[in-house]
Amino acid sequence: MVDVPYDGIAGIPPAEVPDVELYHPKSWWTRYVFSQDAKVIAVQYSLTASAIGLVALVLSWLMRLQLGFPGTFSFIDANQYLQFITMHGMIMVIYLLTALFLGGFGNYLIPLMVGARDMVFPYVNMLSYWVYLLAVLVLASTFFVPGGPTGAGWTLYPPQAILSGTPGQDWGIILMMASLILFIIGFTMGGLNYVVTVLQARTRGMTLMRLPLTVWGIFTATVMALLAFPALFVASVMLLLDRLLGTSFFMPSLVEMGTLSKYSGGSPLLFQHLFWFFGHPEVYIVALPAFGIVSDLISTHARKNIFGYRMMVWAIVGIGALSFVVWAHHMYVSGMFPQFGYFFATTTLIIAVPTAIKVYNWVLTLWRGDIHLTVPMLFALGFIITFVNGGLTGLFLGNVVVDVPLSDTMFVVAHFHMVMGVAPIMVVLGAIYHWYPKVTGRMLNDVLGKFHFWVTFLGAYLIFFPMHYLGLLGVPRRYFELGDAAFIPPSAHSLNAFISVVALTVGFSQMVFLFNLVWSLFRGEPSGGNPWRATTLEWQTPETPPGHGNWGKELPIVYRWAYDYSVPGAEQDFIPQNQPPRATRAAQGAAS
């Protein structure tokens, strides 16, 4: 048979939205600052999120100094300790992870991976970033207002969040609410963009079932965020009204510092339901993009198609849907109607099944692969271990009666740090090593990268794995000092000191990473357009870094799924998504 080139385009329906003319920047300001280019916005989001994330990292050092060596550091008092834990949690969950995965990776990767020139609403996309920046600035300003930031815990439970026994009651809590409201407004503008871009602006041939799992993860997480954040929005507005105007949405009759307050008739549990209706999907808003990205990292660096692609897509969608009916597992000991326990324990444990399928498919992708132990692959392996560990301890806390002794202890702290702190951050770091060459045109230094990986992975595991056992012992969370308690042996204090030392070490190793980011920008090895020999569209751009409009004159046309690695009979061990099939393969396909 003659190997006739065949463009295969006849059977591919045209794209939903025809190619459009973009806004072209006319000055330095509109190119790099008030830019409407998703790639610039992505970098702006990432840098802002990382900057505020560094603040949260420093707060964690202060917390660990206090927990490891109580009484040693006189500049940390009980009020400040509560302010540190509150701001650390809030920043990490919302202002760092959510913003980085959706605003950072979403903006950069969605248009490139679906073969679009940009997001569909570039102007709104630009506004999204500036509102986000404002939210971050309002949040950061609370460190400088009278009374300091709120110390109500990142869950901000009323009544204490707005009463005088809690630090930051006068300005901190008000600005926190204002900042959250701004964040949600900014996110909604970006989120609508991501969803509409994935649905409408995919290039010709890019069917939904040919999307890379990264896009599936970010897309599903964005849909969830658009449905979940409104619950936090109304809770914030109502709490702000309770604080400022004396309404009683969440405030029953109560005594404040010895005198009867003016509040009457509200329900503290209502806030918890609203908060967790947002807060549980939020876990998956962070996790699903990580699931998607890590699937692509594993597939690319193991030179093998992701195992069970269709099951992976359905698992992402299924987890997203189920995560809206599990929220009250955060409230088993809240005093809510006890019979709810049966329902929420059942839904919570059911969600373990699609999650486990994802884990199996990741490790089965490694089976008979050609595993290149690059830095992104190492981080992906680190993700699997920490995610499996943190996911399995979720089966303790989700199973209502097991949660009773463990809730509000260090077991919970260890669990959620492992599953939604360390595991997603493993993916963030792996993804940065993976896509940095596309963003800058240079490779990150490999030796520094490997050092960074091993210290971060082993260190984080040494911090959080033993911490579960402090919780099992009964050590409560959010304690400035453990004080005298007969059930806490001296060895538990030694363990706390050990954890603190490791935490500081891991923290400082991030400075090596920051150095690598800056150094490689100027001195890194030039990467070329496709250093990992990957199949997805972002690696096939005519320029690296991709220019404004991404694709030159013609949009790419997609002929295949995102995982054609090591296809039998193919010359190379990868076939890009936009490479036309050859007549021989088309004939084989027709015959089979």
């Binding site: 392996l381 301890t393 009773v404 007969a486």
Partner: protein, 277 residues
């Protein structure tokens, strides 16, 4: 292959840590050992899964890491394998969930013969109330609270007059008798937490929450607050002592009833107003 070995050591090290670490749950003081058993079942199942997944992964890294000329298999899916894994996971999940729900049923079903005890939380101390001879607690309302009536009992309720009130003190419980612990807060969320009891529940202003326990061994235990309640959360402590029957009654005899406390206060006030006569 160093990477595979380290991954395997992480799994083995975790199991060894679990077996040999000195940090484990406190000796139980109530008959909620069902909860401990459910945790043990969960440890077994999740421990096996964790070790198996990480060991498999380490093996893959060892066996299939890149060498010159190596090429990966092309193997998009395997329906049969995926279904078997799903079913197996479902069975494992059910094996944890089923005992969990059975024990939860016990946890939320208070025995009819349980006596009531009230715990009241406020920033940042604990108070307790036991029913008097009539076996019933009187009604209370946060609006009744004043310095002479710190628990906010209703003065007109006859059931409340003989209630034993322990303000900012320690609680005693008799061994072997089921107790329904009623939980009340007058300001913010608190949580009555005694690690040895296993049971805990938040205290919510405007509501009365509860759990029940049956103490099975004597001893004195720390009471901590497990729900963040403001600046001195970590200092909100008390003690609870489980006594045998005779010690318990000896202790109970020494406690003051609401009527005695308010009567004493009335005497003090009358004395003050009459100029010390």
């Amino acid at each position: 292959m160093a990477v595979a070995l380290i991954l395997l050591l992480v799994a083995i090290g975790s199991v060894l840590f679990h077996l040999y670490s000195p940090w484990w749950w406190t000796p139980i003081a109530t008959d909620w050992s069902y909860i401990d058993h459910t945790i043990s079942i969960t440890f077994w199942i999740t421990g096996v899964v964790f070790t198996a997944v990480i060991a498999f992964m380490a093996y893959c890294v060892f066996r299939f890491h890149h060498r010159e000329g190596r090429r990966a298999d092309y193997n998009p899916e395997n329906k049969k394998l995926e279904w078997w894994l799903s079913v197996g996971t479902g069975v494992g999940v059910a094996a944890m969930l089923a005992p969990g729900l059975v024990v939860w049923h016990q946890f939320v079903t208070v025995p009819a013969d349980a006596t009531e005890v009230e715990v009241m939380g406020q920033q940042w101390q604990w108070s307790f109330r036991l029913p008097g001879k009539d076996g019933r607690l009187g009604t209370s309302d946060v609006r009744n609270i004043n310095p002479e009536n710190p628990l906010g009992l209703n003065r007109d309720d006859p059931h409340g007059q003989d209630d034993v009130v322990i303000e900012n003190g320690d609680l005693h419980l008799p061994i072997g008798k089921p107790v329904k612990v009623l939980l009340r807060s007058v300001d913010v969320l608190h949580d009555f937490y005694v690690p040895e009891f296993r049971a805990k529940m938040d205290m919510v202003p405007g509501m009365v929450t509860y759990f029940w326990i049956k103490p099975i061994r004597t001893g004195t235990f720390d009471v901590l607050c497990a729900e963040l309640c403001g600046a001195a959360h970590y200092q909100m402590r008390a003690k609870v002592t489980v006594d045998n029957e005779s010690d318990y009654h000896a202790w109970l005899e020494q406690q003051k009833t609401f009527a005695e406390l308010s009567g004493r206060n009335a005497v003090v006030r009358a004395t003050y107003q009459s100029g010390g006569k």
